[in-house]
């Protein structure tokens, strides 16, 4: 399995859309067979960002917050996404290696209540102020 984790200062990078570094780990039967750091293209270039991952044949991505259109592009590319994850990258990787990764234990604040779909959890029922909810071309609420 090829696992990618966006990292920043040793922790999971806060926002995938602008994350600068990717830790790429190849695992085989619970053992790490390759472990490399990759730079992601700077700026908000979403297509090139996603194509780096598909080019590396990533199976699973663990990352922090990710905007919906980007999340959809990732899953459309066949990548299993664990998003809105926070914490020490090393600890998350260990948990993955031992098959004990429990996403709930690593949720970012405000992301643990009332999950309604993969990688998306509603906040703690806080009201929002008349925001225009549009997610760019092609986005459809799931």
């Amino acid at each position: 399995m090829r696992l990618a984790i966006t990292v920043w200062n040793g922790r999971i990078a806060p926002v995938f859309d602008v994350a600068g570094t990717l830790r790429l780990v190849e695992m085989d039967e619970g053992r790490v067979t390759a472990d490399n750091l990759l730079s992601l293209p700077p700026g908000g270039g979403v297509f090139s960002r996603v194509s780096v991952l598909t080019g590396q044949r990533i199976d699973v991505l663990v990352c922090g917050a990710v905007s919906r259109p980007v999340h959809r592009m990732l899953t459309d590319s066949g990548i299993q996404v664990h998003s809105f994850v926070s914490g020490e990258a090393k600890e998350v990787l260990e948990a993955f290696l031992h098959g004990s990764f429990d996403e709930k234990a690593y949720f970012m604040p405000g992301c643990g209540v009332g999950r309604n779909r993969q990688g998306r959890r509603r906040g703690a029922g806080l009201s929002r102020r008349g925001r225009n909810r549009s997610f760019g071309p092609g986005w459809k609420e799931v």
């Binding site: 602008v18 908000g44 270039g45 917050a65 990710v66 604040p109 405000g110 806080l126 102020r129």
Partner: protein, 453 residues
């Protein structure tokens, strides 16, 4: 609750403070609302994992404030809320000191810019009907008619050169009106021979002709309560013109092989790249049909007459095709703009769109540049019949239109028109004279001049 806390709770800007280890120490009510994170969950956590902003990794304003001691004001970016929505924000930061001047941490205030961006989008919509975008005055006049046209069942005639976006405008009218949920059926009348066009438009009954194995409804009926768009109406034969006239008059169609008329509820929009009035004069087009379809006429000027639209069209088309092709071509080199604006674009917006699509395929960076230009646009090779003249006259035309519009808006009162245009009245007078703009007698200086046109 002390007064500072009460104030922080009452304001609409989000405010949070951090300790020197970047852990959140306070989080106000607006911060909860904007981020979707409750205070209980936020306090004690890393600020980057709560705020989740595009600036955290590389351009953190709070980090800069804490390292330089300086305040940062109104830095913009976006945050990703717990539902994956990007929220545009502007942030300001400051350092917090204790009474001995020791750094206690930092404070960040942030403002949700969604509403401002939404208003900006609405403003942009003024220059847009469906997928058609334009800032030119001639097109603005067309756009202003759309709401009224869209809400009426009247037949519309759209005239414009090939590639100007006649079908796009027709779709814009369809989607702006109450028929938007019904079908939009487009038929190119010039592409089909008479008998095929007839069966296509009116339908047929089983056995009407060899091969008619079952009943088939025509496009007029298939459109239901929607819109039928008849493109290239100027190219239909005289016999077909008679049949179309009947549909428009009777609001019914009779399928081939049937004697039973079927009612037509669809609205009809016709389009042509030919001058129908001239065709009527030359006897190629029936006058009665012309009057039937020429109820509301919208003329789309060719792109060479509105070069000021090219930058906006480029932006829209780049966005559209980079998304479709999943590449990151974001912009174009400003140096190529004069060439693009000077080119005559005989194929109009369609040709411009083809250029953009091709440029995205071949561009080697995230910028469309000089080397991506096709031969016909390159200097010395393209149709630049008087490039300087074209640009100059385009500028003069635009200026003339703007001045005329301002004069009309202000009942030809020059002082008021100059004020609207943001120039001194003597400048306006000089430009009126230079551009040969005729002024009515009596002009707006007379006492009975009325405001508004």
């Amino acid at each position: 609750m002390d007064s500072t806390k009460a104030i922080l709770e009452s304001i609409s800007d989000g405010v949070f403070t951090v300790d020197p280890q970047w852990k959140i120490t306070s989080f106000n009510r607006a911060a909860e609302e904007i981020t979707g994170v409750s205070r209980e969950e936020a306090v004690g956590r890393e600020c980057s994992e709560v705020f989740r902003s595009s600036m955290c990794e590389t351009a953190c304003a709070l980090r800069e404030s804490m390292s330089t001691g300086k305040q940062i004001r109104c830095q913009t970016g976006y945050i990703v809320d717990s539902e994956g929505e990007r929220i545009p924000v502007s942030v300001s930061t400051a350092v917090l000191f204790d009474e001995n001047g020791k750094i206690l941490g930092g404070a960040e205030t942030f403002r949700d810019l969604s509403e401002i961006e939404s208003l900006q989008d609405q403003l942009q919509d003024r220059y847009k009907v469906g997928d058609l975008v334009s800032r030119s005055l001639a097109m603005q006049k067309v756009f202003q008619l759309i709401p009224a046209v869209a809400s009426s069942p009247t037949t519309v005639l759209i005239q414009g050169e090939t590639g100007t976006g006649k079908e796009v405008l027709a779709r814009g009218i369809h989607t702006s009106g109450s028929r938007r949920d019904e079908p939009f059926v487009a038929v190119n009348c010039g592409a089909l021979p008479d008998n095929l066009l007839e069966s296509e438009l009116f339908g047929y009954r089983k056995g009407a002709f060899t091969g008619a194995a079952s009943n088939r409804e025509g496009r007029f009926v298939a459109a239901g309560g929607g819109t039928v768009f008849l493109d290239e109406i100027g190219d239909v034969s005289s016999a077909m013109q008679v049949k179309l006239l009947r549909v428009l008059q009777e609001k019914t169609v009779t399928p081939l092989g049937s004697n039973e008329p079927v009612p037509v509820e669809a609205r009809i929009i016709c389009a042509t790249n030919r001058d129908l009035a001239a065709l009527v004069k030359s006897g190629e087009f029936r006058q009665d049909l012309f009057y039937r379809i020429n109820v509301v006429r919208l003329d789309i000027p060719p792109l060479r007459e509105r070069p000021e639209d090219i930058p906006q069209l480029l932006d829209v088309l780049l966005k559209k095709h980079s998304f479709a092709q999943r590449v990151d071509v974001k912009s174009y080199d400003p140096q190529i703009l004069p060439l693009l604006m000077g080119y005559s674009w005989p194929g109009n917006v369609r040709e411009l769109e083809n250029f953009v699509e091709r440029a995205i395929v071949f561009s080697r960076g995230n910028l469309v540049s000089f080397r991506d230009l096709p031969n016909e646009i390159l200097p010395g090779k393209g149709d630049y019949s008087s490039v300087v003249g074209t640009l100059r006259s385009a500028k003069a035309d635009t200026e003339k239109q703007m001045i005329l519009q301002a004069l009309e808006n202000n009942g030809f009162n020059r002082t008021a028109a100059a004020e609207e245009l943001g120039v001194h009245k003597t400048t306006l007078y000089r430009r009126v004279k230079a551009l040969g703009i005729p002024l009515p007698e009596p002009d707006g200086r007379s006492k009975n001049a009325t405001k508004g046109s």
